[in-house]
Symmetry: C2
Subunit: 596 residues, 2 copies
Amino acid sequence: MYRTHNCGELRPSHIGQQVTLSGWVQTIRDKGFMAWVDLRDRYGVTQLLVNEEKSSPELLEKVRSLGREFVVKATGEVIERISKNDKIPTGDIEIMLTDLEILNASKTPPFTIEDESDGGDELRMKYRYLDIRRSPVQQNLIFRSQVAIETRKHLSGVGFIEIETPNLIKSTPEGARDFVVPSRMNPGQFYALPQSPQTFKQILMVAGMDKYFQIVKCFRDEDLRADRQPEFTQIDCEMAFVTREDILNTFEGLTKHLFKSVLGLEMADFPRMSYDEAMTRYGSDKPDIRFGMEFCELNDIAQGHGFSVFDSAELVVGICAEGQAESFSNKDIKDLTEWMQRPQIGAKGLVWIKYNSDPNDEMGRFRSSVSKFYSEDQLQTFADKMGAKPGDLMFVLSGEAEKTRKQLNELRLEMGRRMGLMKPGEFKPLWVVNFPLLEWDEESQRFFAMHHPFTAPLPEDAEKMMSGDHETLKNLRANAYDLVLNGVEIGGGSIRIHDRALQEKNFQLLGFTPEQAENQFGFLLGAFEYGAPPHGGIAFGLDRLCAVMRGQTSIRDFIAFPKNNMGRDMMIDAPDGLDEAQLKELNLKVEIAAKS
Amino acid sequence: MYRTHNCGELRPSHIGQQVTLSGWVQTIRDKGFMAWVDLRDRYGVTQLLVNEEKSSPELLEKVRSLGREFVVKATGEVIERISKNDKIPTGDIEIMLTDLEILNASKTPPFTIEDESDGGDELRMKYRYLDIRRSPVQQNLIFRSQVAIETRKHLSGVGFIEIETPNLIKSTPEGARDFVVPSRMNPGQFYALPQSPQTFKQILMVAGMDKYFQIVKCFRDEDLRADRQPEFTQIDCEMAFVTREDILNTFEGLTKHLFKSVLGLEMADFPRMSYDEAMTRYGSDKPDIRFGMEFCELNDIAQGHGFSVFDSAELVVGICAEGQAESFSNKDIKDLTEWMQRPQIGAKGLVWIKYNSDPNDEMGRFRSSVSKFYSEDQLQTFADKMGAKPGDLMFVLSGEAEKTRKQLNELRLEMGRRMGLMKPGEFKPLWVVNFPLLEWDEESQRFFAMHHPFTAPLPEDAEKMMSGDHETLKNLRANAYDLVLNGVEIGGGSIRIHDRALQEKNFQLLGFTPEQAENQFGFLLGAFEYGAPPHGGIAFGLDRLCAVMRGQTSIRDFIAFPKNNMGRDMMIDAPDGLDEAQLKELNLKVEIAAKS
């Protein structure tokens, strides 16, 4: 028996008991006549004590031989601590050691096992088993586990069945790149790892399973950006005989349950907003509505006053940063302008108007980068339209409408960050609905699915889809929805097409020949002929959901063994070469093309 | 809104209510002046009614246009049924239709959607979405979902954290064949899909996660036997600071919880048996202990009487089939002997002794295939030793000990089946412990790990492992255990090695060079140097566990989308060829070797 209690468990009520703990040596303090050891496990830290008076010389010697991260089994009596530590739950007691067994020694770890580690990213990934011993990482993994079990409890409770779909499926060229798996038994053929269980969950609806969910690994062979992983986890759901309303209510219920059960937070009903409205008010289909600073369109007052930049623009649009007139120096605004002009954002410039807080300021009511084009009274109309008060700072962008909105969205978010408006611990969910169904790509002269090829149009747009002209098709709205939380898309889904003719039409619009559609999705088209019910679903990104709920930005911190930007696992050093025999058995030969 | 209730929900208490149901048309009965439709969904079947008196001609017409598996939305009033059907929970009511909407038509399905289908295996796999509509398949999937959620609830409740381990890992030549995944970003290199998360769960113990579990997909590229799947699911668990006793108690607790919560059965404490004892008493390391018919070793009484077959045998061993003397004709015994002589079993012959039920039988007390070698009194000593009574039938096998036990195990199981001793609904779990650690392979002149290379020897055998001679090594016992249920291994695990030197020694015994060990498992050996705690674990086969709990034999029936014996998914038709561009991007070329 290695322990009677864990290292986070003992309290004054245990005083006088003989206990045994096992764990890792966090620190040792040796005062000569006495010594203390902080013993750590997943549950907490408990202080062990030896002294010359009560402990044998052998025991003292053994304690002094310990090093950081040694694994020990410690036996002794729970006693009251003289100098209590109110920072830890076990801080009222300590253990007067009577026996100590070293279960395993440890080399000195390459970085400190503390909340704030001194190890760099690479080192921590290589020694991930030491990194996970750090409480913040451990707590993230525990949090993720809680979110997963609460998701399952809730969905099971409302009649969902968790069904595992296969991981060895078929490659489809549409969408992101698949990881593939050569089949030894079927020479020259390959499985693909699923990018999502999309078609399988639809098949399960055709199969009458009614309510499906699965917390499931998905795979995408993409060039990895900072916060992407080749394998990631979805909470994947599908329901039959539902309208959009049923789905939004069901998964709003799930989200509320998660916040309540895991964070202890009650959430109010989630507002809904159309894609068009979100773009107009925030320039984003995933607005962070923890703060206002909404877009204000200014064409009517900005144009026609001789400022050619505005006059020639499709859209003139601004935001008002409350109370920031004084906080932003000319230098600050110059820096911000340069930040907006970086290629990632690509603004041409940044017009600003400061509403002076002192109405008697000798410089007048406003200072602005466009003072020579607009009189004080004209600037006042800007302020009035944007609801600005003395002390506020207005920013105005102009140009092609879509592009300008995207740029202003970046500025709004940056101002939100700088002004501390993205409050940690505050959660503002939002359903964004009625996305465009199809996006026209000029270059390839074809439509792309904004969501995916199985998304249904809004019921009132279905007829138009079958027979509409090009312009009509561009304006079709999808029966799709995203759940946005604090500006992050944590889930998205749609009502699906369940009619073979409509699905075929969609494939055709997306550039599939009938043969390609049949070859890749024939099983689904076939299934639609045997009594497919109306159905729809949603998928949440579990990694991202956890990060947002914990107020963190990196999903990597919620994955036990993440890969780096080259898709490598630094700890096990994968991927790796295969030996020739294995390749031969798979009927494969490696041919590395010279880099172009 | 597609429904107010589901098809399994309405009872006499709903009579008089207006309701809407959606589902599939199971059957239509048309009596001319009235017609009935059985409407089916996952929850049950409800009868819909139209008649000439109360229903409009249009509605009657619409009902008559329905076909099997049409999807409809039906609205009407709940009324009391005149001829009640006590076979279904909704049998007291029916719906007087007022409105019917056809949501989707259906072609005539290629097989009947009934509990007993007329579809063959191939057809049912190709149209899996129709097969799953059948209640037995649907119930199996729901059962599996229940087992999974109850597993998670129980393990979370006792402090386990579910942690996802990666699916893209590193190939290891030891054990079964890996599926591999070419890495586009790392040309010429491959990931492997995990055969189990073994090393990762051990790493999580080194990382201090203390109690880990995961319900996880695993992958093995094996030539598929009848009941193997290339992807299968494990309940995978690991605990730190535990002895074998802790693990057996924890997972006996899980198993009892599953039987209680899912089947409503209370289980008594699980007996334990050593591997050696199981082999001696049953000739199997996974004995079905629902019935006795234990082995009785007969060398002392069988040898030395001039029957050379027995005299020259290492082992003479028998079983006694209670009350079967009359039931087995000479022809039956001849058939059974031939069954035993098939190459799969390989017995040379089958000695039988019938203990006549009539003590005054003119043929004497016994009839036997070896009467000419043994007198009645000598046969009586066989009967006495085997505890046989008048009316019993004894079988005796002889030969090389291990082989003979295995043959007799097959005979015992066959007799158990024929005698109806494997009672469905009766569950007899058994822990089998103290397996051999290493198996010597004469051909390759090396040891193989009976469990896997990370299994620790029993504590008292650890020293012998470091320094023992060949004979000592062959007799090392592993600190490993299997959970056997009704003769099926549903779980297995071990205490692991947590000491670098012992692990290196084990790799060496298993034929690894130090370089190979370092290359494949260097991260684990490294982790053992930074404070690895004692740890151990277990894994259950979820597919098999579900099958055994439901008294079924095929795991395929518990997998939503299983693959056939060639590893093919017949529904989506995978695996499939890849186009050249995709192969080129992966730096691969297909080279199919001519069949030898």
